[in-house]
Symmetry: D2
Subunit: 346 residues, 4 copies
């Protein structure tokens, strides 16, 4: 089969003919219908410092966001059968550790990430543990199924901070931030403030219904947020930027008693003043690493199935898998938002 | 001033000229801009068995849902000034009891109800304790301000059962049930099932976005709810009917692990089978009696201010206060839904 | 091996020589070190109306509470090995249904109960699905391991109503009620009120630290509870009696804003007045059916391991498995509380 | 009356004869029965950089922790009468702001601190707003009533992280840390790990029931915490040290999915690595600034009244108010823990 392979521990990847994966007893083989690019893939492609230390072992098939059809199942698989339509959950739990035994398998103590620690889905077929192949309604198009993984992270954050009736800031308008805006809008958030330094992305945030789309390089976000909230500050903010400066600023316009969901991964340490930033405010902060398995999926399916989430503006490009290099260029330059690759096209 | 007065302990009420109320030090006087009829008012008007035992002392001005402008304030009032635009909170807390001291003043141990245990607001002016006059944005029209009280009950229930991404049933499509549908729709509920025995009300539920509007007298609601949820049952139901039969049925189509908000007041005891209805299901049930003071108000204001709630179909009639008898007739027959009375019209 | 077998659909059971169970690929075989009697077993023994409709298929080995040592494991079992010390979780989840996929496998939509729908553990060896054999620390004696199942139900209820610093009533001083008292005491409950109609059990409640041990047949529990709480009512009550009269009474002395955990299974419907019992009080009620799998187990292990729970008064008798008839007599008459059977003794 | 007065914006304070305070209409006058020293008082006494910027306006009576008897009440005070026994809540809410209107008056947007922004209680009589004088049971001795304020902070943190059945670390064994240990022990925590760099304080932590009392200057706390928890890490930690190094270390031994309560105020910014410290762990962090008004007080009273909290080891010294300089010396050197001053002694 055709696959995008990270061959060596340096920049780049190649489209190659590789063997279709062999299944272990607990695995399934999925015929990939659509797969999507994520910032993590770009890190791996560019072999960034993060990627160099992420436990990746080239040669390895790239990619982790996808949907498709079950083509074959391992001997011990009982919940899935060929023909089932599934999307991929990236978090592979061990099933034995403290977290797996205590209702938190998505943050398993021995967590492996599909497409990072294993071969991925930029290919005609993907092998994945059965537990990570989540059946979704056939009414959902493959390109939407392919973005369930990042969408679920955004939905989880939005559920964690309970956005209904609240003034919400979303920091960072990459795909996950934009998904968080779409979720907040659908879940009854009052004012939504979106921030980013890329104007195209701020434009997308407006299309998704943000009430204020601010560029912190040009505008005083703290002032604007306080003004929109009559001096109180936002009830919650979600960070999807990983920008240390933007997160610090978020704590300045967070109201006393506010809540924070942190999703974006900063590449450097952040300096916080615990007194004013957290303690005097009694801020509640939660780290978000993926989706609860599988209650977040259930709520996501329900919302997508009812057409409650406006995701169209976020999916900016669709192209054959063979054009993956163009896709990486699009997201690297910020010209693309979510790019979908189709392995069946040539 | 003109007021609708319940004069005697029997059916009826009269429009009369009465003295404008004198204020205690903690009271405010509100010039009523709009007032709305509630089922409770009908009980009092008709002097139902409930009303006979509700602690009402005629002669008494009727009515408890209203918005208006502060006309005067008592000596000790510091948070409000004449000209402020307010809506009325019906629950009058004592400020001293266990509940008042523990963050639950809306269910005060010595709770008094405005318009039931005190003179009310079917009048040109209403006297109310300052704590119960809630400032609201001037962008909100008086007739919407007048329904904040019942709307807040519905919002509170919807927040309590966390409707986002869930399959929701709303039992009873009187005003509070319809408000609950509007809130659920705005807060990201997936399928919304509405039930009532009055076709006009089911029609309204459709306008508000219910996915299935069912008449239990004609349709098998349990079957329908199970079918819409692939056999699982609804994630949550809210009862705004007070119908014992309908609530019992609700427990039949509630999924295992589901949640229930009870708002409607049955006039008779309900028989529950705790094993199958609650324990094996691990159902979570919460009684809802009014609004949290005042976090529910804050979230309601935010949502109304952003235009997130579609309340127009629920307000069926507007008329001068002097036509209150026609208004009672409309809600008694189910031909009216929420009827607004205007004391300034003649 | 020797086992207590329910042979026919009528009163009684017999000690018999039966074949050691054969394992499916996902099962384990446990050499039973201690097994305990539960009210459910008595129902089955006596072939009560409940038992007749519980899906029991004689001939069947009785019993569901036990601890022991893994003797053999099925082919597909990876988390357990022979020699592991385990206690039995009674709830057998299907692993596929809505609840199993949404973090609530303990109330699986297709739930089967070990020892009710399957052969049980009143035997030298017990076969159980691997997922239901929970490793516990070897520092915990077998007779304590054997009561983890009912203890976990009580702990779960105590965690659900958050007893710390609260006035707590426990209705019913059978084993689960007594466990709930022990848990409440260990978790910082303030006043604990225990009720039962059997004096021996009230005596046990005192040994476990109840502040008031009341017999509703002789004392006015409502008055006493109000007096102990300065007229406020208890913050929470847990019902482990299944007595319709006692639960109704509980709602009378529950404070406004209080919380309720229902564990005991009434044999008849209960009549509730939703207005005063639940809605005006904004009572929160939760049904408790077993233990969260497996976070309740983790917390229980931690607490037992630290010696925080005083369980000694609850385990009233220990005897060889062959004396099971005497054991049933003890719990039937209320002379015994928790009775432990040892299959290795003769 | 006699009072300890901070006279000038430099080191020191003096015992002086001052006028008994005059009451505003919402104030009460309390005859102080016992008052306690807090680290904040030491900052003010020593005129530390923090104190210089805390909004203090000498000359001012020092002190904020106390209990006593109501001597007189302002005109508008209805909930208290002379003779009532009260303890002091330090947080003075404005009653009008967003937080005060939304159930979070203890973190009022215009919060003033008694004894910092107002005259305090190191005196024979203290003037305080009536809302901040909390009636407590007369069974509680004055010296215990005097430490309700810091104890409540510790209890609130322990409630927030839900310690029952969990492995808990308490960082910093000053009075608040020690109170947190006492609360955790009473509320069913499993292993409690205490850390401090002062051996006398570690000794106190042992008396209160800590399972491991570790000096991070001498021992590897991360290793020890992981070993005590079988490699998993602690379920929760509470910081009462304000030590940047210790908090950073706390995130290292916090388990994935763990929770954190931050109480101690660092004097410098902290550097966190959001990825490993918070996001991958999905840590939940909450800032704690005082007590919920007044639900924390209620639970605290209940627990104290039942004798559930062992506070004796924490109260190290008692002396006349006139010996305040000796008291400051004791807490400055770490030789004293909680020091009680008695204004009635000479």
């Amino acid at each position: 089969m055709i696959a995008v392979v990270k061959q060596e521990r340096r920049v780049g990847a190649k489209l190659e003919e590789v063997k279709t994966p062999e299944l272990g007893s607990e695995d399934v083989l999925v015929k990939v219908k659509a797969t999507a690019l994520c910032g993590t893939d770009l890190h791996i492609y560019e072999w960034s410092p993060w990627a160099q230390n992420a436990g990746i072992h080239p040669p390895q098939i790239m990619g982790h966001e996808f949907s498709g059809e079950i083509a074959a199942v391992g001997n011990a698989v009982v919940n899935l059968t060929p023909g089932d339509y599934v999307a991929g959950e990236t978090h592979i739990p061990c099933g034995k550790c403290y977290q797996c035994r205590n209702g938190q398998q998505h943050i398993c103590g021995n967590l492996k990430l599909f497409g990072v620690h294993t071969d991925g889905c930029f290919a005609e077929y993907a092998k994945i543990p059965a537990i990570c192949a989540v059946k979704i309604p056939t009414t959902i198009p493959p390109e939407i199924g392919a973005v369930f993984e990042p969408l679920g992270t955004a939905l989880r954050a939005s559920l964690a901070v309970k956005v209904a009736g609240k003034n919400v800031a979303v920091i960072g308008c990459g795909p996950i931030g934009l998904f968080a805006i779409a979720c907040s809008r659908a879940m009854g958030a009052a004012n939504i403030i979106a921030t980013d330094v890329v104007n195209e992305r701020l434009q997308l945030s407006k299309e998704l219904g943000a009430d204020a789309s601010l560029n912190p390089a040009k505008e005083d976000v703290v002032d604007a947020a306080l003004e929109m909230t009559r001096g109180v500050g936002v009830d919650v903010f979600m960070d999807a930027s990983g920008s240390v400066a933007a997160i610090k600023q978020g704590f300045q316009y967070l109201r006393k008693g506010g809540e924070v969901a942190l999703i974006g991964l900063p590449s450097e340490p952040i300096e916080l003043n615990l007194g004013p930033d957290i303690i005097f405010k009694e801020a509640k902060i939660i780290g978000i690493h993926g989706r609860e398995m599988f209650s977040t999926w259930t709520q996501m399916e329900n919302m997508i199935d009812k057409g409650l989430l406006n995701l169209d503006p976020i999916i900016s490009h669709r192209m054959p898998l063979s054009e993956f290099e163009k896709a990486f260029e699009l997201i690297k330059t910020g010209k693309g938002c979510k790019v979908i690759l189709d392995p069946s096209q040539t």
